[in-house]
Symmetry: C2
C-alpha cells in the first residue's frame, strides 16, 4: 500500500509513524512550511530514521510521482479551504481520508462542495471520507448505544478537549485568552459557525435513518475561574478571560428523537483530562456511556489510519462512516485488510 502524507504538521507527523509501523509505504509528503520543504519526512516527523521521501510544497507534483493508493490529509478545517487539496488527491486517483472536520458529514453544512468532490471521486474511481476522534467517540459509540434502545426520545453527548494540545492557531480559534467583551463583540460581528458539533449531530441523525426538522446551535464562553497557564499561548490566562468555548448543536427530528451535542474546547486547569459522555433516553429510561482520559489527539490519528482499508474498500465517491463497516483494530499490516488481499 502506497500513501502520501498530505500535511506534515503535528498530526501528519504522528500519522507518518503509524503508517510506517502498519507496513504502509509512504511515497510522498506535502507541506507548505519553508522549515519543512526539502527535508526528509522521517526527520520532519521526528522519526529516528529517514524515509527517503522529501517534503514538497507542490501537491500536483507529489501526487503525480506518488501513484498513491491513499492520501492522508491533515491540513486545516472547513471543506471550502480544503476543497482544492482534496480534489488534487482525487484527480490523481488516490483515495482520501482526512481529519478535516466538515468532511465527517458534509451533506448539510457544505453540500455543494461535497457533491462536487463526490463526482470527482466517482469519475476517478476512488473514495473520500472524513475520520478522526469523531469516528469512535461521537459516532460509533453513541450509535451503538442507541442500538440497545427500544425507543429513543433523546440523545445527549458531551465532550471536552484540551486546546493546549493543538498549538496557538487552535487556541485563537476558540478565543482562548480573549476577554468576554472581545469574544461577545466578535460573535455579534461575525456570528459563530456551528461546524463540528453540527456535523456530528447530522451524522448521527443520518445514521439512525431520521430526518432533521430543526437545528439550533449556540456558543458559550468558558471563563477562567482562576489564573490558568496556557502552553499554546505561552502566557497565563487571567481569571475572567476565556479558556475557550462550548459549542452546542441540537436537532429535532421529524420522527421524534432529539439529538444534542456539546463540545467544550478550552485550556485545561491542571489535572483535567478529555472526557466523552453520552446518554440515550427513552426505553430503557437511560443508557449511559462514558470515556475518561480520552487521548483525543493520538486517537484522531490512530482512527484515521485504521480506517484506511475501509476507505480503499468502499465504493467510489464521498462516503461517511455511517455507510462503512464498523471501526476496527488493525493488528496486521494495513494491506492485509483490503478486499481480495
Amino acid at each position: 500500500m502506497r500513501a502520501v502524507v498530505y500535511g506534515a504538521g503535528a498530526m501528519g507527523s504522528i500519522i507518518t509513524r503509524l503508517l510506517v509501523e502498519k507496513g504502509v509505504s509512504v511515497v510522498g509528503a506535502v507541506a507548505r512550511s519553508p522549515g519543512k520543504v526539502g527535508r526528509d519526512l522521517g526527520e520532519v516527523a521526528g522519526l529516528s530514521f529517514k524515509l527517503g521521501v522529501t517534503v514538497d510544497d507542490d501537491p500536483d507534483a507529489v501526487m503525480s510521482r506518488a501513484a498513491a493508493d491513499i492520501a492522508v490529509v491533515a491540513v486545516s478545517s472547513y471543506l471550502r479551504t480544503m476543497y482544492d487539496h482534496l480534489r488534487t488527491c482525487l484527480e490523481h486517483e488516490a483515495n482520501v481520508v482526512t481529519i478535516e472536520e466538515e468532511s465527517f458529514f458534509p451533506w448539510a453544512t457544505a453540500p455543494s462542495l461535497a457533491k462536487r468532490l463526490d463526482l470527482v471521486a466517482k469519475r476517478h474511481g476512488v473514495t473520500i471520507m472524513g475520520s478522526g476522534a469523531q469516528d469512535l467517540y461521537w459516532m460509533t459509540l453513541p450509535s451503538a448505544l442507541m442500538g440497545a434502545a427500544h425507543r429513543v426520545d433523546s440523545v445527549h453527548g458531551r465532550t471536552t478537549w484540551n486546546v493546549d494540545d493543538y498549538g496557538p492557531e487552535v487556541a485563537q480559534h476558540v478565543h482562548a485568552g480573549s476577554t468576554l467583551e472581545q469574544f461577545e463583540a466578535h460573535v455579534a460581528r461575525e456570528g459563530w459557525p456551528s461546524f463540528v458539533v453540527r456535523n456530528t449531530v447530522d451524522a448521527l441523525v443520518a445514521d439512525a435513518g431520521l430526518t432533521t426538522a430543526k437545528m439550533e446551535s449556540s456558543v458559550a464562553p468558558v471563563l477562567a475561574a482562576t489564573d490558568t497557564p496556557s502552553r499554546s499561548l505561552g502566557r497565563v490566562i487571567t481569571a475572567g478571560e476565556l479558556l475557550g468555548v462550548t459549542d452546542t448543536a441540537t436537532t429535532d427530528t421529524l420522527e421524534g428523537p432529539s439529538f444534542t451535542f456539546e463540545q467544550t474546547g478550552c485550556v485545561y486547569a491542571r489535572g483535567r483530562s478529555d472526557l466523552n459522555e453520552w446518554v440515550v433516553r427513552g426505553e430503557p429510561a437511560e443508557l449511559r456511556l462514558r470515556n475518561d482520559d480520552v487521548p483525543t489527539r493520538l486517537a484522531t490519528c490512530t482512527q484515521v489510519v485504521n480506517r484506511i482499508p475501509d476507505v480503499i474498500n468502499a465504493p467510489p465517491g464521498f462516503t461517511t462512516v455511517a455507510d462503512l463497516p464498523r471501526l476496527r483494530y488493525r493488528h496486521f499490516p494495513l494491506d492485509s485488510y483490503l478486499v481480495g488481499a
Copy 2:
C-alpha cells in the same frame, strides 16, 4: 414480519411487547409451564390486550402453523440443552435469534453442536445467531474501542449484573446463599464451566482476527460482608455466605494481545447498579470506556429485537455479531430494515 416467541418467561414476555410495538406480527408462542399453556400470550406477557396467540407446549405444532420469519428463543442456557429447540425452529425455516449465551460465539465451547446447527440452517436457507446484553456491552463497545488503538497489548473487561433481577433459578446457578464450604465442595466435585466469559473472549479474539494460544478461566466467590436481603431467594443472605460469583476468562493470542473478561453475578447491596467497563492498553497507553447503571435485563431484550433484521438479512448458517453490520437503533417497524424492503 411474522415471529414466534419461543419461551414465555420473564424475557420472552418483555420481548413479546417489544415485538408488537415494532410492528411485528406475533403468530406463535411456545412455553412448557402448565400455568401458561392454553392462555393468550398477551395475557401471559402482561400486556393489556390479547394477541390472539395461544401459548402451546408443542414446538413442532407451533412452528408448523406459524410460518414464521423469525423465532425469538429465550428458554435456557447452554447449547446442548437448547439444541433440539433451535433445530426445530430452523427445520421449520424460521430464522432464529436467541439469548442462549453460548450461541453468542459457540465455536470454541460447543463447536460440533454449532456446526450441526449451521448445516441445518444452511439446508433450510435461514440464519441463527445469539444476541443479548453481550452484543453491545461486551462485543460492539470493546471492539469499537480497540478501533482507536494503534497497538493493543491487552483488553480488560469487567461487568456486573444483579442476580436478584432474574429469579431463584439463576440465583442458585451462581450459588447465591451457599456457604463458602458448600461452594468450594461443589467446584471441587464438579468443576466450573467458563461459559459466558469464555464465549465473550472468544468472540472478541475472533472479531479482531486473532488466534487463541492459551485460555484460562477461574471462578471466585463473592461473599456478603453484611447481611443482605435477596429478592430472588426470598431470604437474607447472612454475612459470610455467597452473594454470587466472579467468573474470569483470560486468553493469550498467538499474535500478542491478551484478553481478560471478568463477570460478577451476585445479589446486590442496596443502591448498587450494573456496571460495564473496558480498558484497552497499548498505544494509546489506555483507552477507557464505562457504562454506569446498565439496564442489563431490558437491554438484553431490546438488542435481540433490534438484531432481527440483521439475522433475517444475513446469509444462511450459524452467524455471530462479529460478521454482522453494527448494532443499530430501529426507529421504524422492523420489516422496513429488511434488504429489499
